[in-house]
Structures are given as C-alpha cells and as structure tokens.
Amino acid sequence: MKFPQTLSVRVARVEAVTPVIKRFTLVPAASEVLPGFSAGSHVLVHMPDGARTYRNAYSLLSAPGERGAYQIAVRRQERSRGGSVYMHERVSAGDVLQINPPANLFSLDRLAARHVLVAGGIGITPFMSYLKELAGQSVPYELHYAYRARTHAAFRDELAAQLGERLHEYDAAAGERLNPRALLAAQPLGTHVYVCGPESLIEAVADGARGLGWPESHVHYEQFAAPQPGRPFRVSCARSEREVEVSGEMSLLDALEAAGVEVPSMCRGGVCGQCETDLLEGEAERRDSYLPAALRSRKIMPCVSRANCERLVLDL
C-alpha cells in the first residue's frame, strides 16, 4: 500500500490582492481537515492543461496549525510557462484542484535570538505564515518589505496593522531603497536573516551577510528557481528506452512527465533533491542549488536544469 500522492482541495474564494496578484482560499474536498503545516511551508499545485500538467509551488499564507483552509497567493508572471496564467484565468471558486501535501524548505530556525525577514515583492508570501508564528513567541523579529509601488505591495495594510514598528517599508516608486549590508551590519550577534524575493535581492543579502562574516547557518533564503526557458534538446531514457524532445519553453521534468516517464519530485525548484537523476551522457546546464560540485558531471536535477548539448542520456 502507498500513501495517496495528492490532496483534493476545493477553491472556496478567489480575491484580487493587487492588480497582478490573486489570493486563493483552498478547503478540503475529500476530507474533514487538511494536514497541519509549519511556517514557511509550500504546496505544489497541479494544473492539468490538455496533455501536459503545470505544477507550481506556492507558499502557504495561513497561520501554522490552521487545518480548515490553506491560502496561497499567485502573481501573474509575464514570462510565465503557463502555471500562473492558468491560476489567474482558469481557476475560480468551486473548482477542485490537486495539491501535494505541504513541505517546508524554508523553516524558521528556533535557536535564533532574533529574526530579520527581508521580502521583495511577491517574496512576501512565505513570511505571512512566519509572522503569525512569530507573533506567539518571545523572540524579537522585524520585517523589511521592498516593493515597486504601494499598489503592488500585497498585504501591505494588513501587515502595517499587525506589525506596527516592526514593519519597515521600501517603496521604489517613492525612491526608497533597501540597503541589505547596512541592515545586516546593525544586527546583534545571534540574529538570523531570512530573504525571499528576486534573485538580485537574495544575492545582495547573502553577499552582505558573507562580507560581514555571518555564519552560513544564520542566512536563509527561499530560492525557487522557477524553471527558465532555454534551448530545446533531446533526452534518451536508457532504461525505458524512450526518446523525449524538450522544447525551449518546457522544463526537462515537465517533458519527461508528459512522455510518461515517472520521476519523483517535490519542490520543482532545484532545492529539495527529490528528482536527482543519474546523467549517463552529455553535459548538463546546471541551474539547481542542490547538487554538490563533485556530483555535477554525473547527476542532474531535471526540475530546473537543462542541456548544454544536443542530447542527454539519463538513467531512467
């Protein structure tokens, strides 16, 4: 016997949070309650579209411990592979969706003497559950929220009411800029910093922390490398003897799944390690943040990585 792979949820509500962000409230469709989850967790939402299925990871916004409903926020991506557009245009109240149970690759460190949260744009989402968890604890915390304009700052009013002086805002439209290095330099020893947002923000915080001598263990980031398009290539599956074409717009994992090749997966963002696959021939274009350097010539993470050549041979 195996555990069921996915949970059925019904969309109870869809609300526009900003012009490009929608919030979805998901309630259990086949059970009384949903599995519990921890601050920083995400779920993978399955979006079947004809022969292919989009699978995107979204952070849970609700309070940890809340089992009656999950909430996620989806930003419509201009260069979307389809998932966020699907959520925006095709999902409405009453629909039933399949999701993977919550997983957490961005959890709070409970030994921290102080938590500093840094969000850029839609990167605010994992902190929505963090802030509900931190509100019940005695450890000091603060949120630094950078956005391009007030109208695009999801949950800004709610956060201002909840956090008061703990909220620090950086409105780019008003010329306000977050200086990560200065922010980190002012922190006492024992502080942990958590950052979620565009790659440039994550790098600025990570570099700033490194430059100031922060230990790696005190710097946390959620970097879902949403699979980026690339050049098309071909894959040979050595064990199942199948040939799969990967178009420029599709991820390798999506292409394998569409061809009926089963690969275990979880985060689909190059972080968790579940889809690690043996690379028998060819050179990978590595885009994950999981594989150690020593394994990069022999392994590939098909959720985000692609080929640097015409053809890869995988042990699948």
């Binding site: 016997m1 195996k2 555990f3 599995p35 519990g36 989850f37 921890s38 601050a39 920083g40 967790s41 940890p64 411990g65 149970p101 919550p102 997983a103 957490n104 959890s107 709070l108 460190d109 409970r110 030994l111 019940g136 263990s217 979880m266 968790c272 390690g273 579940q274």
Partner: protein, 340 residues
C-alpha cells in the same frame, strides 16, 4: 483491535513480564531472510493488518500498564531521562497533539480527547486520568507537554529539530534504551549520534537516510525495525544503570538461555511534527523470550541463521560477544537451525 490490558507487570527484580499467545503471534519478528544482511529497511508507515503492531502509528498492547509503571519508576530515580531543550517547545505541543489525537482515534475504549478551541480535555481511562488544560499554555499541565503525554505512552521518544540541513536530538523520553544515553546524545546531530554504528558510515547509509528524512512530509511517516538481545525482559538497559544489568550476561548458559535470553525489537517510527517542522522519533520496544520465540519454528531457524552469519563488528556493537555462543548452542539443541 481492543487490547486487553494485563495487570501491572515488572521489568526488573522479579520480572513478571510475559507474553500471552496473542502477543507472541503479533510479535514484530525483524528478519526477512535466513542470513544477516545490512539494510536501512525504512518503509512507509502505512496502516498494517488489523491487530498487527503496524495497524496504528502508536501501538498499545497488553503490557501498557506495566510499561507506564516502569517508566514512572525510572523517572523517579533519574528525572534526567526526560529532557527537552527550550527551543523545542513547539515540538513538545506537536507531540502531545499527535499522540492524543491518534490514541483517541485508534483506541476509543481507552482514551478520549475533547477539543473546545484551545481548551482541551484528555481522558486516559486505563490510568484513571482526566485533565482539562489550555493547549499552548504549559502551566496548565502537571508536566511539560512532552513529558506529560509520553509518561502515558509505551516506548521511548525523541524530538528532533531540523535546521542547517541536519537533524538534532534536542529532546527525549528515554527510559527503555538499548544501551544508549540521552544525557550523552542530547543536542547531537544525526551523524554524531549514529557515530558508534559500525560499517554503515562507510556504506554512505547515513548520508542517504538523512537526505530522505529531511524531506519527510506531514502525515507520511516512515518506520523500520531494529533489534538486539537482552538478558531478562529488562526494559531499562541504559548505561546509567549498567551496574544492574551488565553482569546478567555472565549468568547465561546453554541451559537457561530459553528463559533468560530475550530478542529485543524496536519498532521505530519517524513522523513529521506539523507545526514545528521538527520530527518525532518513536522507539517502541518489544521483548520475547527465546522459549516463546521457539513456538514459531520458522522464527527460531531464522534467528539461528542470522546470529551465525553476523559480521564480527556487529556482534561487538550489539554487545553479543559473550552471549551469541550459548544462544546458538541452545537453538541447536532444540533442532531448530537454519540451513546456512
């Protein structure tokens, strides 16, 4: 299953512990083949056959009252057998919720839980306990939440913290360990506390196991069996009390092995703690005398096969150097041997 609880049995001094034929029949015999083979043997903890030890996440059997009393005795003498580091408080509440919920759902004739918001009422009919408390407020319980619930539970428990891509043993209720000490291991990382295990580090077993466990999902627990040999049905074989049980091994002879020797099997369960993102590690210990084990000839033959093919480092690690010979001789005398 509705286990019929036996009156309090002892796991020390006069050792009144004994398995009924039903308990023997459901004993989790750990060997899948006639030869010893190293394996991590982690599997999904999906519900097992009704009545089996795998039916529920947390097995309650006929020895419940005796094991709870044994835990009380150990803690009275050495309160340090239950220790939880302060940052694990969320994991403590997670553990309490998980155990109470599963007990009430799986054994409604023994346990009941009423939840009215954060106001909870817990009833343990077997122990005559009925307490109302506020979930999240430790001052409303007679012990910390982890100690409160594990005092009413068979088997040892650890709470593990997940951070820095590793697991840390940051708490536990360890009153029936197979020769290891919470005081020694508290705060250790996954590979540190597995340090003494022979052979497996070189095979990369702990790298793979850790990677797998770090991704453990809510409501998707995993389990494995572990085993050793213990003289007498003694639950508390801890380093702290070695002076009481270490010498038992010298009393073993070919003649008394049937009563003295017990196969000790741990049903280990690993479950994600939902809200803290920690992990609960349950170590549920089952003991069976060699004599009772032999009532199933297939088991006796297989035990003989496994013990005869154990690599020397494993013999040493499991503390069997002195006892393996007499056990094999006793099994050979019964004629129940493996064709290895």
């Amino acid at each position: 299953m509705r286990p019929q609880l036996k009156p309090i049995e002892t796991f020390r001094d006069d050792f009144t512990y004994a398995n009924s034929p039903e308990a023997v029949a459901r004993f989790p015999f750990p060997f899948p083949e006639d030869e010893y083979r190293y394996s991590v043997n982690i599997e999904m903890a999906t519900p097992g056959a009704p009545g089996s030890v795998f039916e529920h996440w947390f097995d309650v059997d006929e020895h419940y009252l005796g094991e709870v009393e044994e835990r009380r005795i150990v803690l009275e003498e050495d309160p340090g057998r239950c220790r939880v580091l302060p940052h694990m408080i969320a994991a403590e509440w997670d553990t309490l919720e998980m155990l109470m919920t599963h007990f009430a759902q799986d054994y409604p004739h023994l346990f009941a839980l009423q939840r009215d918001g954060e106001r909870w009422t817990w009833e343990n009919k077997a122990l005559g306990i009925r307490d109302t408390f506020t979930f999240g407020d430790a001052s409303t319980l007679s012990y910390g939440p982890f100690e409160y619930i594990t005092r009413q539970t068979q088997g040892d428990f650890n709470v593990l913290d997940q951070r820095e891509g590793d697991l840390f043993m940051d708490g536990g209720m360890i009153t029936c360990p197979a020769d290891w000490s919470l005081s020694f291991d508290l705060g250790m990382s996954f590979k540190q506390w597995h340090g003494p295990v022979p052979m497996a580090h070189e095979l990369g077993v702990f790298d793979r196991a850790l990677k797998y466990l770090l991704n453990l999902q809510v409501d998707r627990p995993v389990r494995r069996l572990n085993w050793t040999i213990t003289m007498h049905p003694r639950m508390d074989t801890s380093p702290e009390t070695y002076h009481r049980w270490g010498a038992d091994r010298t009393k073993l002879t070919e003649d008394n092995a049937g009563e003295l020797v017990h196969l000790r099997v741990e049903l280990q369960l690993l479950a994600r703690l939902p809200r803290s993102h920690g992990m609960l590690f349950g170590i549920r210990t089952y003991l069976i005398s060699l004599q009772d084990l032999t009532t199933n000839p297939a088991w006796a033959r297989r035990l003989h096969g496994v013990l005869s093919t154990l690599p020397p480092p494993i013999v040493e690690y499991k503390g069997l150097s002195r006892t393996r010979g007499p056990i094999l001789a006793w099994l050979e005398a019964t004629g129940l041997t493996a064709a290895v």
